[in-house]
């Protein structure tokens, strides 16, 4: 043994003692171990880890951790904060594996920190071109992990594989051409031995798709377009060549049912957003839920929430899967609170519509028919002069994650009751340019509108309770076995509600907008809950006696 080895032995022997005395001491030997597909399938039984964007493949965002519960949540205190060095908004949901937290940052960066202290192991800065085509901010929402490799989307429409231990790039592939208006912001989803990922760019006349990549080589395994090509079923739902520039982006993470081997993924608005005259027809599969074969990507069924949408009501919501009691039997369902203000419970084996009701203010539809298809209110399409419609462009909800509690059987969504004037404009498609055909204008200040957290019974589609917040929030929700709903608000609060009653349990002012969803994890038996607010990632835990 040489001198260096002896010296290192000495250091490591001495460190455990230091770790107990110094709260800022990084854990030296984390138990980080490869994340196998089996671990991901059984993620619910490892509640100490948060191994994917929505926590588990069914995207319930329900954690079995209950150390923090309705009885002691008022004892929460901040344990650490991590300052994201790039000033922008944080929409990230961190991933935690065996004591290491992976945080994505704007515009397309990634940092690994010690989940006990928030101190950095490594960081990866993705080099971006200057002439990005992005509609709505420089965002990144999270990573996927398989083995020891992290997978991240980037704003220049690349998918990058990064070594979880060092931050080194393993491969970097172009998913689509950013100069044509494509970009990527969402966390990928691991499905067996593939990295499944969507695409953004619905305001640039792209043609949306869902891709699967080989996690080792980065090779494209399959691509399923969200707009059928000529000769495929559904292509005739687009007039002329409008399908080529029809949008239907796939810009939020989907879910997966291992038993049914089906991937569930939402699709965005048809393009141009507000001028439907140039794309007559239902515009399949825009504003839809797609169920894809987990091996081939073939479409097993689809459910279109908003046929021929002219209000930008993306169905870019995370599908929540659960088995619920419905009319006397257990049904495998998918729950969906849509940007169009309707909540849906759908049989996830077949795509059959079961229940649906408006959960927020809306004026664009008279209701849903027996198949869940909306009955449009005449005269609510955008005009050149402008017409007032509810919900506004941002929707009754949007991309931010809803949640479901196995304890209460309720579905929770951040909702908005607002209205906006919608305008139509004539535009020609030009590659890489915005292709929206209009826009919107608020006629009232944001404080005049109503926002809330709503709990919905998926068996009846009825609202069970609501908790008012202000102003419009784009924070996601997480539930726990401690009986808690955790979420945040645009006015900079992080707070906890009683999942059964909606009663306020605890709140803290973090001071900056929350655009992210909370997540929870544990190390050495201590539960933590983490939320990004402004440019800061905060982690809370119970006070230690």
């Amino acid at each position: 043994m040489n001198k260096l080895s002896l010296l290192l032995c000495g250091i490591f022997l001495a460190l455990p003692l230091q770790a107990q005395e110094d709260p800022f001491q990084t854990v030296i030997t984390p138990a980080f171990s490869p994340v196998t597909w089996e671990r991901l399938v059984n993620a619910e039984s490892e509640p100490e880890n948060w191994m994917m964007y929505s926590g588990t493949l069914d995207s319930q965002r329900y954690s079995r951790l209950d150390q923090i519960n309705t009885g002691n949540v008022t004892e929460l205190e901040m344990k650490w904060s991590y300052q994201i060095p790039v000033i922008d908004r944080a929409e990230t949901v961190p991933t935690v594996v065996d004591g290491i937290m992976f945080i994505t940052e704007a515009p397309s960066n990634l940092t690994a920190v010690d989940a006990r202290t928030g101190r950095v192991y490594w960081r990866y800065d993705h080099e971006l071109p200057e002439d990005l085509r992005i509609c709505c901010g420089r965002n990144n929402r999270g990573v996927a992990i398989l083995g020891e490799t992290l997978f991240m989307s980037t704003l220049d429409a690349h998918l990058v594989a990064i070594d979880a231990r060092t931050g080194n790039v393993l491969w970097d592939v172009e998913v689509a051409d950013y100069e044509a208006g494509y970009s990527k912001t969402a966390a990928p989803l691991i499905v067996k031995d593939k990295v499944v990922t969507g695409i953004a760019g619905g305001e640039f006349g792209i043609r949306g798709f869902i891709d699967a990549y080989d996690p080792v080589t980065g090779e494209l395994e399959w691509r399923t377009y969200a707009i059928p090509g000529p000769g495929e079923p559904g292509n005739d739902s687009w007039s002329g060549d409008s399908w080529k520039t029809g949008g239907a982006a796939t810009w939020i993470t989907g879910s997966y049912d291992p038993g049914l081997n089906l991937i569930y993924w939402g699709t965005g608005n048809p393009g141009p957003d507000w001028n439907g005259d140039v794309r007559l027809g239902d515009n399949l599969y825009s504003d839809s839920a797609l169920a894809l074969n987990g091996d081939t990507g073939e479409i097993a069924w689809h459910f279109q929430f908003t046929p021929h949408d002219v209000h930008d009501y993306d169905s870019i919501q995370v599908p929540i899967l659960a088995d619920i009691e419905y009319q006397g039997s257990t049904r495998k369902v998918m729950m969906w609170a849509n940007r169009n203000a309707f909540f849906y419970t759908i049989d996830r084996e077949t795509g059959e519509f079961l229940e649906g009701e408006a959960y927020a203010t809306q004026t664009w539809a008279q209701g849903l028919d027996l198949n869940g298809r909306p009955i449009p209110t005449p005269g609510m399409a955008p005009t050149y002069e402008g017409i007032l419609v509810s919900p506004p462009i941002v929707g009754a909800t949007n991309w931010y994650s809803p949640a479901y509690s196995q304890q209460t059987g309720l579905f929770y969504v951040t909702s908005f009751d607002g209205e906006q004037e919608f305008f139509k404009r004539d535009e020609d498609y030009e590659e890489g340019e915005r292709f929206t055909g209009g826009g919107g204008r608020y006629n009232q200040p944001m404080d005049a509108f109503h926002s809330s957290i709503r709990a919905i019974n998926p068996a009846t589609a009825q609202i069970e309770w609501e908790f008012p917040i202000m102003p419009r929030s784009s924070a996601g929700i997480t539930t726990t076995a401690g009986g808690i709903v955790f979420t945040g608000s645009a006015d900079g609060y992080f707070f906890a509600l009683n999942a059964a009653s909606g009663e306020e349990l605890w709140h803290i002012s973090l001071g900056a907008r929350v655009h992210a969803a909370p997540m929870t994890y544990a190390i050495d038996g201590q539960q933590f809950v983490t939320i990004a607010s402004g440019n800061v990632v905060y982690t809370f835990g119970l006070k230690e006696n």
Partner: protein, 268 residues
């Protein structure tokens, strides 16, 4: 009510006609923008609606959620056409304000500059019928505006500080503010009526309200902060505390006040 509304509308129309008949010239030309015709402004508008309205709003009045500023008044980051041009061309690093496509022709950028310029009212181009000095006198005498409004550190606290109001409001808007104060009241100037757990009621201007708390200023300028879960109830009165001046001031006096308020700018 209908008659009064009609009268107000006629009054507003008559007064505004007086204002804008006097408008002439082109400030864009003064600053060197060669693309400043109505055709150019319209071309700029079309480009704006397509490329810029997602963040700045279809009416260019900005968006608190996206952080995009209001472009219809004085611009914080540019004081000239060239400054606006540079921001459009190069973006603002570290923000969501990205540069336009590198191959976008200069002419098109200048058209966008012309459109943005057209959104704000250049005082040099407006010859208002009212008297600035007369308006200044009315502000403190008959109008008693200074009992609520502050200008350059002098006046009350119960209304917006008007020291630079001419940069933010057009003469047309100022006129409307005086005649129809309850239209489009900013949330900051709503009134909150708070009832505490002892049944005590306190009213004040809505300094701020969020999901869990609210803060008001009462008529004696006392500042109060309440956690929502520790009061019995609260009520928002989304009207203005300012009276309408339809009955108390003549048309010419209103014109004088508009002229005075519109003259209140940083350079003056």
């Amino acid at each position: 009510m209908g008659n009064l509304t009609t009268q107000l509308r006629h009054l507003a129309t008559a007064t505004l006609s007086g204002l804008f008949l006097a408008t002439s010239g082109s400030f864009a030309e003064d600053a060197g923008n060669l693309y400043n015709t109505n055709f150019d402004i319209n071309a700029g508008l079309r480009y704006f609606e397509r490329q810029c309205s997602r963040c700045h709003g279809f009416d260019a009045k900005g968006n608190d959620e996206t952080g995009a500023p209001d472009l219809t008044g004085r611009l914080a980051r540019a004081s000239s056409d060239v400054g606006i041009y540079n921001i459009i061309r190069t973006g603002i690093p570290g923000t969501a304000m990205l540069p336009v496509a590198a191959d976008l022709p200069d002419a098109q950028v200048w058209q966008l500059v012309a459109y943005i310029g057209s959104l704000s009212t250049n005082p040099a181009n407006i010859d208002l019928p009212g008297s600035v000095t007369g308006g200044a006198r009315l502000f403190t005498d008959k109008g008693e505006c200074n009992s609520c409004h502050m200008i350059d550190g002098q006046g009350g606290r119960l209304g917006p500080d008007l020291s630079r109001i001419g940069e933010r409001r057009s003469p047309e808007e100022l006129l409307s503010d005086m005649l129809n104060p309850h239209t489009d009241v900013a949330p900051r100037w709503w009134t909150m009526r708070v009832t505490d757990n002892n049944g005590t009621v306190r009213e004040g201007l809505r300094m701020n309200e969020d999901s869990f708390s609210l803060r008001i200023m009462d008529e004696d300028s006392n500042l109060w902060s309440y956690p929502k879960n520790q009061i019995a109830s609260f009520e928002r009165l989304e009207t203005s505390t300012m009276p309408s001046y339809t009955q108390t001031l003549s048309d010419s006096e209103v014109d004088d006040l508009v002229a005075y308020l519109f003259s209140l700018r940083k350079e003056n």
